[in-house]
Amino acid sequence: MGHYLRICYHVIKTEVLEVPGRVIAAMFVIALLAMPLFISQPYVLRILTLTAIFAIYATSWDVLAGFTGQVNLGHALFFGVAAYAGAKLNLSMGLPPWATIPLGGVVAVVVGLIAAMPALRLRGFYLSLVTMALPIILTGVIYIFPSFTGGELGLYGIDRLSNSVVFNYYLTTVIMLVSVYIMYKYTDSESKLIRTGIILHAIREDEITARASGINSTRYKIMAFAVSGFFAGIAGGLYGHYMKIVGPSTLDLFFSFQAILWTIFGGMTTIYGAVAGVYILYPLVEFIRVLPHGEDVRFIFFSGILILTLLFMPEGLTTWVRDKIEIKCPRCKLVNVVTRRNCRACRAPLHLEKDQLGQ
């Protein structure tokens, strides 16, 4: 037992505490899990619960757009379809939330694939335009069949996740952490656990070379589409059960764009960037709302932050911060703190030019 504790301590000391990015991630997770101990206002916990749900949603957009280059402008399709499917399953068949949320995700993937099968033949702008049209069409369909979909009012009376505010918070946060971890591993090109990340990177870089390497690129793209849609669906299902009402606003065009804005603010193609973007922007905008005139200025504020981000940190906030605090060893490509003089693994000098100038 003591032996394993010592191994744990060693791993934490050498692999976590030496890399600032991992320290920040660990602190973030601990802070999230400890939050209800210090904050008891239900309003704050409610905002943080919704933030966790939107973090899953924004991250799933990053999987698709950042890693396969399929810029989906209608990502709310997955979110809305899963929310509606979960609500319908819950209301008419009486299934509990733990069944309706994953089933909603599956339904979202199926509907997304049926709708997008013809679209996946397209590339670039054309694919984006088609994906943007899909949730708009679905909104129209919802208005046409009000007896089945609830029309403008939506479906209400859905079972809540649980009766406890704190338990809701923990449930969504833990699901968010697990989902983000899976998506991170799924897209990580250095992962030894799941090898998909490196193939997705390769397909994004050059699809023809990837095909000449024997990779069925179409299959991997559809798989990424399905993974992205499934997690967006999980977020949609959680949202429906948390809000207890699902309306056409879940398919809103602005809601699709919000995933893009959050992710671009945090940094695309990083997964953690999307999480950071949601956890900074969403609570901030909600906080401005309670200030005097907040309701009017919050979107001006939102746009202002985005414009400033794109001007000064074109690759997003997390990428900018990462480049300030981390440096890659020129010899072994391991990540180090920027303050170190030598690499923690191979002892190669990290700041070669600076050292030479000093001599």
Partner: protein, 261 residues
């Protein structure tokens, strides 16, 4: 020859009004290294691309191991055991050199036929060592010189464990010493001595190349193409003494040089 691995019949391809390849037919045996030579613009690269499935022919069939592969997608052809390299290299520039080869090591065929005791990283390292760029494994592919990119392309192709290897100018951008080193490595690979150990059998090869002095010694047979048509087929000795080939491509002095070496 008794054991044919690739059969091409009446292969034609036109780009608009330009007839790039017309009615090309030849076959490659399982134990052969075949050279495909000809002047610039003769249709050599197009032929290679037609065989590997990157381009689809206007007419004609390609049969690999007895199966018609003319209409199959590129990845299926690679997974049947026919790998090819590009003349203009297109690596995954942001990924490390080792990761470039690992992608090929992850294709279904390499998973089935590769040395199962080795991890993907080790197999990629093996292929890089064969091509002679194992020391650059961690660098991103964008920092490599053109010659090293050519070697990376070769490593990526052999990482898919091919039975037939199509090489489009593998010596392009290499200096004379490197050229003869790669030529000898290819011969060794063909004999089954890949990475210094004896495999059951090495891949057959079809090589497009202009550096004939290094290429001719390792070839079993040469196919000469001119204006998209086959000009001559034969052993290297027959080809360098063939008056039509000397007229169209080699030229008198070069012909003497090749036959002299």
């Amino acid at each position: 020859m008794e054991d044919v691995i690739l059969e091409i019949e009446g292969l034609s391809k036109s780009f608009g009004g330009l007839q790039a390849v017309s009615d090309v037919s030849f076959s490659i045996g399982r134990n052969e290294i075949v050279g495909l030579i000809g002047p610039n613009g003769a249709g050599k690269s197009t032929t290679i691309r037609l065989i590997s499935g990157i381009l689809k022919p206007s007419s004609g069939t390609v049969r690999f191991k007895g199966k018609n592969i003319t209409d199959k997608p590129v990845w299926d052809i690679v997974n049947m055991g026919l790998a090819s390299t590009f003349q203009v290299v297109k690596p995954f520039r942001q990924l490390p050199v080792a990761a470039n080869v690992m992608v090929a090591c992850l294709c279904p065929r390499a998973k089935r036929h590769g040395e199962w005791v080795k991890t993907v990283e080790l197999r990629a390292r093996d292929a890089l060592e064969f091509a002679g760029i194992a020391d650059l494994a961690l660098e991103p592919a964008s920092v490599l010189s053109h010659g090293d990119l050519k070697r990376l392309e070769l490593a990526r192709a052999i990482a898919t464990e091919p039975e037939l290897l199509l090489l489009d100018e593998p010596f392009g951008g290499l200096n004379p010493a490197e050229t003869s080193m790669i030529a000898r490595s290819l011969k060794r690979l063909h004999k089954g001595g890949r990475f210094g150990r004896l495999h059951s059998e090495g891949p057959a090869m079809l090589i497009v190349e202009h550096k004939l002095a290094d290429l001719m010694p390792i070839l079993d047979r040469v196919v000469v193409i001119n204006f998209g048509r086959i000009l001559a087929v034969g052993t290297p000795e027959e080809i360098v003494n063939n008056p039509a080939v000397i007229e169209a491509y080699l030229g008198k002095e070069v012909g003497n040089l090749v036959s002299g070496s």
